[in-house]
Amino acid sequence: MEAPPVAVMPVTGGSIHMMEYLLQGSVLDQALESLLHRLRGLCDNMEPESFVDHEMVFLLKGQQGSPFILRARHSLDRPAAPWHLRYLGQPEVGDKSRHALVRNCVDVSASHSLHDFLLEMGFRMDHEFVAKGHIFRKGALKVVVFKLFRILLPGNTENTEPLSLSNLVELSVLAPAGQDTVSDDMRNFAEQLKPLVHLDKIDPKRLM
């Protein structure tokens, strides 16, 4: 039965508004090793961690045209870790000189029954994928280099095939609203990766 239409209220994560500052780029498989070496040198001195995550994107069709999107993600190599639910708002149309993509972000940890809960709430799963890669950090900056895998049979995370021959590189910072120095720091960091990978703000709307 079709879920009744809901009115979508502005999403807030309590009293704190967290914004996600994002820069993205991509690198081919051949250049992956050198990029990892570079990141290992630039980022905080910890053992590089690899991860395998399974993400599902849920949609809720509202009265208005644009559906409400929630992303549920859980780790495949650490099954005991809690699930993570994320809402990402529209990118802020600020001044053009800001170097990173800024959007509202709400992060919630959830238990393992999240999938069923969302289905019961009326969400419909739009697509899912598996991401395998490495995660680095430098202070508050998070750098994730991963490869997307397409799931061939729905629900079966063993059977996957890579989506392309390249890896996605994402540089993100979670900060409260209003701190613009963050984007400068991100740009400086991105400069240091320059010949290997070009990190830019990519507006998802323009890609559609």
Binding site: F51, R73, H84, R86, A110, S111, H112, G133, I135, A140
Partner: protein, 644 residues
């Protein structure tokens, strides 16, 4: 001859003698010709006497000789090539004549040429006209010029070599800008922004910094150098320019002061105060940068402390005034933390004389505070775990579980960071203060009271918030016998816990008086215990013993204790009552027959009842001989013990 130039003709006789040797200076030595006798000897050697047939036929000899001669000639003619010299005795004569003839002919020719000049003339050999013509002055000038050219070339080469050697030396001494920059880069973080070189001296790379200071400095080339003057020893081609608010030097001063007259000031310690003694190898920029970083560190710590001081709720609120934080850990005690920042070279700054009191408590506090500051920066870096799944934000792993596992408030507060920096400092200050006051109490008691001696053994290894001391109360000379009072004191942050040897655990507050009273009461109990032990040794019997006697005047401190011991044959008994305030009272009980002032009555029928113990008599204890109570008691007991 008359018209032409004069020609010199040299005549030399033909060389008859062979040249034996030509010396180095050109003189020739000739082989001396053979004299007559030598010649004869040489010829005689050639004659082969063996071959001669004999003296048979003289005529035949003559013919034979002639034939021999002819044969020989033929043979020689045939073999002229082989063996020339013994050919013919006149050969040499002929040769000499021939050569003489040649010479004569030549002479004749030359003379005819000179005389007649018909077909040939004598023409001198053409020579350089300048050889004889040029005067020696010009020759000298010419030589001088060529020498000068050669010398100039050599000088030019030498000059170039000199210059390069001097340049090398200059470079080594002067250390040009690039090598200095390299050295700077090996120790500090630098980056190039457009045409300036900026550096970073903040602590951002050590972890999340709480102080929003950029901490950038600029590297500039020091070009104001006068090349003509001598370059000073400490010249450096590189200079750094630090932000204006980080100039000078800073340190944090922590001081604990009294407000009540019972204890003295615990004193002041200065944290992060560096005396910058420049070592011989350090460069001025290094010292400058280090000083600026120190200033930044002190500012950062102070900012954190003042933030906490405002946020923490405590019984007595902390006061934050400009650059000083004042708080009261105990009533009557004031802890003040202040940031002292001196810019430039202000000479009038009242430099507190560094008379560090030789008080070990403060050194411990200083060390602890240093460790605290460093640990604070360390903790923001290492204890973070990466989030799984990767899109989750950074943070404590357990806090992320709080939602799904439905933690309640108590659990969440237990997970969070417990204490801030200021709280830790206050706790440490409290502990240091309590410890020093305890030590002072024990020491003052020990110096005031001689009779039971009080000994304190402090443990070497202590915690930041806990120390312990073992207190023994003994009598001098009787340590082995009377060791029943042993106290283990554990000094915490706000309380002192005492564990007695008999197992009692007592908690004392931070009041000094409580400890003193307790120790005094223990000392009085010790005396009575000592009597008990002494009685065992002396063979006396303990008739009664009470630690807390309910009779007699009420003591203000603790309770009085009492003991009664009887001699081994039962004749005498000694009763002792000792109180912390009332002192000791000793009574001796004599047998009845020794008391003079007893009423004779008819009740006693038998004489044997006279040997029972009778009335008590008090002992003038202060007049007794003996240096301490137990000694006196021993003497008394010995006096009352009958000799066998």
């Amino acid at each position: 001859m008359s018209g032409g130039p004069a020609v010199q003709i040299s005549i030399e006789s033909a060389c008859e003698k062979q040249v034996q040797e030509v010396a180095l200076d050109g003189t020739e030595t000739y082989v001396q010709p053979l004299s007559m006798s030598q010649n004869l000897a040489k010829l005689a050697q050639r004659i082969d006497f063996g071959q001669g047939s004999g003296s048979e036929d003289e005529g035949g000899e003559g013919e034979a000789r002639g034939q021999e001669w002819g044969k020989q000639e033929q043979e020689e003619d045939e073999a002229t090539v082989k063996f020339q010299p013994s050919l013919w005795p006149w050969d040499s004569v002929r040769n000499n004549l021939r050569s003489a003839l040649t010479e004569m002919c030549v002479l004749y020719d030359v003379l005819s040429v000179v005389k007649e000049k018909k077909y040939m003339t004598l023409d001198p050999v053409s020579q350089d006209s300048t050889v004889g013509k040029t005067p020696p002055v010009l020759q000298l000038l010419g030589k001088k010029k060529s020498l000068a050219t050669a010398a100039q070339l050599l000088l030019k080469g030498a000059e170039k070599l000199n210059k390069s050697v001097a340049e090398n030396q200059e470079n080594r001494r002067q250390r040009d800008f690039n090598s200095e920059l390299l050295r700077l880069r090996s120790q500090w973080k630098l980056r190039k922004v457009s045409d300036k070189i900026l550096g970073d001296l903040s602590y951002r790379s050590a972890g999340r910094s709480l102080f929003p200071h950029q901490g950038t400095f600029e590297v500039i080339k020091n070009t104001d150098i006068d090349l003509d003057k001598k370059i000073p020893e400490d010249y450096c081609p590189l200079d750094v320019q630090i932000p204006s608010d980080l100039e000078g030097s800073a340190y944090i001063k922590v001081s604990i002061q009294k407000q009540a007259p019972d204890i003295g000031d615990l004193g002041t310690i200065n944290l992060f105060r560096r005396q910058l003694k420049p070592k011989s190898g350090t460069q001025p920029w290094h010292l400058k940068l280090e000083a600026a970083q120190n200033v930044l560190l002190c500012k950062e710590i102070f900012a954190q402390l003042s933030r906490e001081a405002v946020q923490i709720k405590s019984q007595i609120p902390h006061i934050v005034v400009k650059n000083q934080i004042i708080s009261q850990p105990f009533p009557g005690l004031q802890l003040s933390i202040s940031l002292c920042h001196s810019t430039g070279d202000k000479k009038n700054q009242k430099s507190t004389p560094d008379k560090n009191k030789p008080d070990d408590h403060l050194y411990v506090l200083e060390h602890n505070l240093h460790q605290l500051m460093r640990e604070f920066h360390k903790q923001t870096l290492s204890s973070v775990v990466m989030p799984h799944p990767a899109s989750a934000p950074f943070g404590n792993k357990r806090m992320r579980l709080a939602g799904p596992m439905a933690y309640d408030k108590a659990e969440i507060t237990s997970l969070q960071q417990s204490e801030g920096l200021l709280e830790k400092i206050i706790k440490q200050a409290k502990h240091i203060f309590l410890r020093s006051r305890t030590a002072r109490t024990i020491d003052s008691l020990a110096s005031r009271i001689e009779d039971p001696q009080i000994q304190a053994h402090w443990s070497n290894i202590n915690d930041v918030y806990e120390s312990s001391v073992k207190v023994l109360i003994t009598s001098q000379g009787y340590e082995q016998i009377c060791k029943s009072i042993q106290l283990q004191l554990t000094i915490g942050v706000e309380q002192i816990r005492v564990v007695h040897r008999d197992g009692r655990v007592i908690t004392l507050s931070h009041q000094e008086q409580e400890l003193q009273d307790f120790l005094l009461s223990q000392m009085s109990q010790h005396q009575v215990h000592a009597v008990q032990q002494l009685a065992k040794v002396m063979g006396w019997h303990v008739l009664s013993f009470s630690n807390h006697v309910g009779l007699g005047s009420v003591e203000s401190i603790g309770n009085a204790s009492a003991i009664t011991v009887a001699s081994s044959n039962g004749e005498y008994s000694v009763s002792v009552r000792n109180g912390p305030e009332s002192g000791c009272k000793v009574m001796v009980q004599f047998p009845r027959n020794q008391c003079k002032d007893l009423l004779k009555s008819d009740v006693i029928q038998d004489n044997k009842w006279n040997y029972l113990r009778g009335p008590h008599k008090e002992v003038h204890w202060s007049k007794m001989e003996g240096r301490n109570f137990v000694y006196k008691m021993e003497l008394l007991m010995a006096a009352l013990t009958p000799c066998p």
